[in-house]
């Protein structure tokens, strides 16, 4: 089975240097362009500090930022890691019953649209002020979008594929595992990638409302004391968390979903 066929194997794309170099060039151009623009027009630091200043200030204040960075990272990762199985399992449950799909789809959409940040003041009343509870915000922010996409995948299976399952007498479980779930995988991954974004939004907005800890809180503090460079530094760090998560998910997707181009 080790012999590979001439048709298979096309990982060339990943190693294509253009795919790595091109974005780096864009980044460099952006950096230099911004630097020149801001210096030439003498833009005030509270509007937009130069990239170099942002990096310098962020590095020198990093010992202040680090605990908040780690806190937010923890909240996002833990919440995200719970939201993935929660979203998929809920979708799997709903998809077993036609009536549940019809009943729950609007509810899930409604949950996706509602900004969960609005619940924070109330949740503080119910659950107390422990900052770790912000995980809950991340979970209820990210789960519905993962659930919605997964459900969409579960309910859109070609009729002929299900007929194939019936024609060989596959059990409900076999049909779900081998056909319905596999068929939905691309959409499951779309949901998870959106979940990355929603998790980050959830965690930072929770910081904004609850204060005391986290990168969101740090941004407000820096801005209040006119440390604009550090504020921007924190924004970049948040973006980095999101991008890293997204990239990891995308890499896993490419390993698993081999049949999409």
């Amino acid at each position: 089975m080790a012999q590979s066929t001439p048709v298979r194997r096309t990982p060339k794309k990943e190693r294509d240097p253009k795919r790595i170099i091109a974005p780096l060039v864009v980044l460099a151009v952006l950096y230099i362009g911004l630097e020149i623009f801001l210096r030439v027009f003498n833009v005030a630091a509270y509007v937009m500090p130069t990239p170099t200043h942002i990096i310098q200030a962020t590095i020198s204040s990093f010992h202040i930022i680090l605990p908040d960075f780690l806190f937010t990272l923890k909240i996002i990762c833990v919440g995200f890691c719970i939201a993935i199985p929660a979203g998929i399992l809920l979708a799997a449950l709903f998809s077993q019953f036609d009536i549940l799909v019809k009943a729950m789809q609007p509810v899930v959409i409604w949950l996706v649209i509602t900004p969960m940040i609005t619940l924070i003041p109330l949740m503080t009343l119910w659950l107390g002020t422990d900052p770790n509870l912000r995980v809950i915000i991340v979970i209820i922010q990210a789960t519905p979008i993962i659930c919605l996409n997964t459900l969409n995948g579960f309910t859109h299976v070609e009729r002929e594929k299900l007929e194939l399952a019936r024609s060989v007498g596959a059990s409900k479980l076999q049909t779900f595992v081998s056909i319905i779930f596999m068929n939905a995988l691309p959409q499951v991954f779309t949901g998870i990638k959106l979940g990355c974004i929603f998790s980050t939004i959830g965690a930072v907005s929770a910081d904004f409302v609850s204060r005391g800890q986290g990168l969101g809180d740090r941004i407000i503090k820096f801005t209040k004391y006119s440390n604009f460079e550090e504020s921007y530094g924190c924004i970049i760090l948040i973006a980095l968390i999101g991008i890293t998560l997204y990239t990891v998910v995308e890499m896993i997707e490419k390993r698993i979903v081999l049949w999409k181009k």
């Binding site: 048709v7 298979r8 594929k161 007498g169």
Partner: protein, 267 residues
């Protein structure tokens, strides 16, 4: 008289949607002997696909009985038992491969579901792949090989558990003319070698005459059996026969039946 391999006994299928009731198949009866190659011919919407889907337990019957080897196999609301399904292989109009599996995994899918394990079955998969020239593509995914190859994979998937009956739902309709002729000839060869019972669904008159021993002509509104034509043509069949006199006569006869169906539809 020998007991029929497959028997349809006054089978009716009615689909009910919210707005209307459609009689897809009405009061259909036929008997097929073991080892026969028969075609069911008719325009689209005549219920020919519904017919073999009922036989394969994909959809329920509304009325009537379907018997295989003299045993009633259709039980409303119940899955057809594995012991019956193992006698049947279904070939779809599209290759209907699962894109997430390799060609080999796709072909071996019925074995997995039926729980058929062991070296003899593994060998069978390899032999079949070899037979249709897919051996070197066995580890490829379906999106990497051509439509003709995929349909070959679909054919051997239906044969992998060694069923006695092959059900073919316009299996080569999606292929180009040349590939289709080639596939038809390959199919005849397989049939002559293995002696399986084949029900072949088509709307192509020439194909029906070329392949089968008997043609069941179906009409629309409601889907029903119109005419049965037994083809007295020599075997093995060859592509060159399509220009011979009796071949053309049979073709014209079937054309006239199909023509009448179309006329009655207009009325």
């Amino acid at each position: 008289m020998q007991e029929a391999k497959i028997k349809f006994d006054h089978v009716t299928k009615i689909f009910e949607t919210r707005s209307q009731t459609i009689t897809a198949v009405k009061d259909y009866s036929m008997e097929i002997q073991a080892g026969e190659f028969i075609s069911i011919l008719g325009p689209s919407g005549c219920g020919k696909s519904t017919l073999i889907r009922m036989l394969d337990g994909i959809i329920d019957t509304t009325e009537g009985d379907i018997l295989i080897d003299g045993v009633k196999v259709n039980h409303k609301g119940k899955k057809m038992p594995s012991s019956v399904l193992r006698k049947l292989g279904f070939i779809f109009q599209q290759p209907n491969m699962l894109p997430w599996y390799t060609v080999r995994q796709n072909v071996a899918l019925p074995l997995r579901v039926f729980g058929l394990k062991g070296p003899e079955w593994d060998n069978r998969v390899e032999e079949l792949l070899e037979m249709v020239g897919l051996k070197e593509y066995a580890d490829a995914h379906p999106n990497e090989i051509s439509g003709g190859m995929l349909q070959r994979a679909g054919v051997i998937r239906a044969m992998v558990h060694d069923p006695e009956i092959l059900l073919m739902d316009e299996p080569f309709g999606a292929l180009d003319e040349m590939t289709r002729e080639q596939m038809n000839m390959e199919l005849l060869e397989i049939w002559e070698k293995t002696g399986k019972t084949i029900i072949f669904i088509t709307h192509n008159i020439e194909e029906a005459v070329l392949l089968s021993s008997r043609v069941y002509v179906m009409g629309t509104n409601p889907g029903r059996l119109v005419e049965t034509v037994t083809l007295d043509l020599p075997r093995p069949r060859k592509l060159s026969m399509i220009t011979q006199k009796d071949f053309i006569e049979y073709r014209q006869l079937l054309e006239s039946y199909i023509g009448e169906i179309d006329l009655s539809k207009i009325k």
